[in-house]
Symmetry: C2
Subunit: 142 residues, 2 copies
């Protein structure tokens, strides 16, 4: 187990096709689906569904945990998810992960429960979303 | 504005291709990506990423609100998201939406803030996820 308390993830860039494809399935709003409608919306540009950002935040956090030697399995509970500003085409999303308490056991067999605070930033350093959650991390050697 | 306090959504069936496509982008775990690996996993079958279920819960809730005459705009804050059991290929997901307090204003212009509790069920009536959240609903006539 690592004694690192904060982690920084890799980067995932948002592209227009991925934003539109996600929105068509899960969040069919004009400002997620159509460039011109988005340009004329209150957001002023094509931006990602908050759920796409949420799912990416979990992926970025999971990858960062694995790189730090903790085998991320799944997110088991979200205590809070807030979206702070829109995420636009071209934004290079990355996550800063703060490791909270780790408790033995939880809903996943052979795993600890790890509390996390995940802050997603765009490439300009603006926070776009913040999630407080619990994830299952494999017990070493199991 | 409706005085209905609970709503029932339409149904979205999970299919294997959608589960794999979502997981490859957001949650690349063997039990979301590969039928054989999933059959041999603790879940015993190909199941959807929790984030896919979360995004679908928001879509189902938004559609149910619109059908009830409330113009859902977006989910602004999640207070709690819990996954209760896996959602498998063929599950016909639907949502039961309990309407909580409505407060004037919020982060979205010309919108009220509506508290919701959304319970997603599989086709057999088992709850698979529960979300407590706040959504923005357009002020009528705005």
């Amino acid at each position: 187990m690592s004694d690192v308390k904060t982690l920084t993830s890799g980067v995932i860039a948002l592209d227009a096709e991925a934003i539109k494809a996600f929105a068509s399935l899960f969040d069919p709003q004009p400002y997620h689906l159509d460039q011109q409608a988005a340009d004329n919306s209150i957001f002023g540009g094509l931006c990602a569904s908050g759920w796409q950002v949420a799912a990416l935040s979990s992926r970025l956090a999971g990858e960062a945990l694995r790189e730090a030697g903790m085998t991320y399995i799944t997110t088991t509970h979200v205590d809070s998810m807030r979206w702070l500003r829109p995420s636009f085409v071209g934004d290079e999303l990355m996550a800063r992960i703060s490791l909270g308490e780790q408790s033995p056991g939880g809903p996943v067999p052979d795993a600890h429960t790890q509390d996390l605070t995940v802050t997603v930033e765009d490439g300009a350093g603006h926070p776009v979303a913040e999630m407080q959650c619990q994830v299952a991390v494999a017990v070493e050697g199991s």
